[in-house]
């Protein structure tokens, strides 16, 4: 994976085939959580293409969207949070007015990324006019991963980073499948954060006119 860098046409990152598969799979799963129709099954990002089903990463990903129909799923709530924690009437009125539009906004930009990642070749070009929407979609994916990783405070984020560092330094296989999944999802979460950071940097460097 190469981070986004600024180019005249837009921000460009590079993802190899496996990375595209994994990111596209996450994109499609967050779409499912938002109630979208499945994003197609065409290669190279057939939902499970390129992933060994016995692999810890594939196992971890298989659980991302398993509660897709549960409106109280914390991952869905992180995408569509309550607009008031104190006043039910305010929260319900807001949800009634905005939820359908928010779902459409979020699904549309996920679908665009999914289509971009379905193209051949390692380059992922994001025009500056679409960079903020893409960065927002990356936030949505990271919100879902953070929910599955049970990160609810800045300290939890720090703790995850030290867990990952320890796992990488030891070089040993995680003792349990649950630990292996946590390491995989954690690494994916961190990689997407790094990718998002580079996209925002490229946007601020070259796309300042789009603010």
């Amino acid at each position: 994976m190469r981070a986004f860098v600024a180019s005249p046409e837009g921000a460009v990152a590079q993802l190899d085939e496996e990375e595209r598969t994994v990111v596209a799979r996450m994109v499609a799963d967050v779409g499912l959580l938002l109630g979208a129709e499945p994003f197609g099954m065409a290669p190279p990002v057939d939902r499970d293409a390129g992933l060994d089903p016995e692999d810890a990463l594939a196992q971890a990903l298989s659980r991302i969207a398993e509660n897709a129909t549960d409106p109280e799923d914390p991952a869905v709530l992180s995408l569509l949070p309550h607009a008031s924690t104190e006043d039910r009437e305010v929260a319900q009125e807001f949800r009634r007015l905005t939820e359908a539009d928010l779902r459409i906004t979020k699904v549309d930009r996920l679908r665009r990324i999914w289509e971009d990642l379905s193209d051949d070749g390692p380059d992922w070009l994001v025009p500056y006019s679409e960079a903020l929407a893409t960065a927002s979609a990356l936030t949505d994916i990271r919100l879902v991963l953070a929910s599955r990783l049970q990160l609810s405070s800045d300290d939890d984020g720090e703790l995850l980073r030290s867990e990952l560092a320890t796992a990488l330094e030891s070089g040993e296989e995680p003792a349990t499948r649950a630990e292996a999944e946590r390491v995989w999802l954690g690494m994916l979460y961190e990689s997407l954060g790094w990718l998002q950071q580079s996209l925002v940097d490229a946007l601020m460097e070259e796309g300042g006119d789009h603010v």
Binding site: S78, L79, L80, P81, H82, A83, S84, T85, E86, D87, V90, F94, L97, T98, D101, L102, T105, K106, L132, A135, S136, T139, D140, R142, L143, A146, L151, S152, S153, D154, D156, G157, G193, Q196, Q197, V200, D201, L203, M204, H210, V211
Partner: protein, 95 residues
């Protein structure tokens, strides 16, 4: 288009003087500082300095008030923030 006087009268009917609402953005462990700053600049039109100050308030104090006005306008702002993946709420000013 209404005259200033008519607008004031309509305004007086629609909202009481003290019925000002605010949009609050809350800290979360997910959003990057540079992204939050960028969103504040892009959506609210804040200068880089103001956007960074609000972002740091969110990060350090756990929340920041980013806009104020009638409830309907705050619903629009909160919807936009949720669109960007930030956790925002609305409430009456002073609550």
């Amino acid at each position: 288009m209404s005259t200033q006087e008519e607008r004031q009268r309509e305004g007086a009917v629609a909202t009481r003087v003290d019925d000002v609402w605010v949009t609050v953005v809350w800290n979360d462990p997910v959003n990057l500082m540079s992204y939050v700053t960028y969103v504040f600049r892009a959506y609210f039109g804040f200068s880089k300095e103001v956007a960074e100050a609000r972002m740091l308030e969110v990060h350090r104090d756990g929340r920041s008030i980013v806009s104020s006005g009638p409830r309907e306008k705050m619903e629009v702002d909160v919807q936009a923030m949720h669109g960007y993946g930030l956790h925002a709420t609305l409430q009456r000013s002073g609550e």
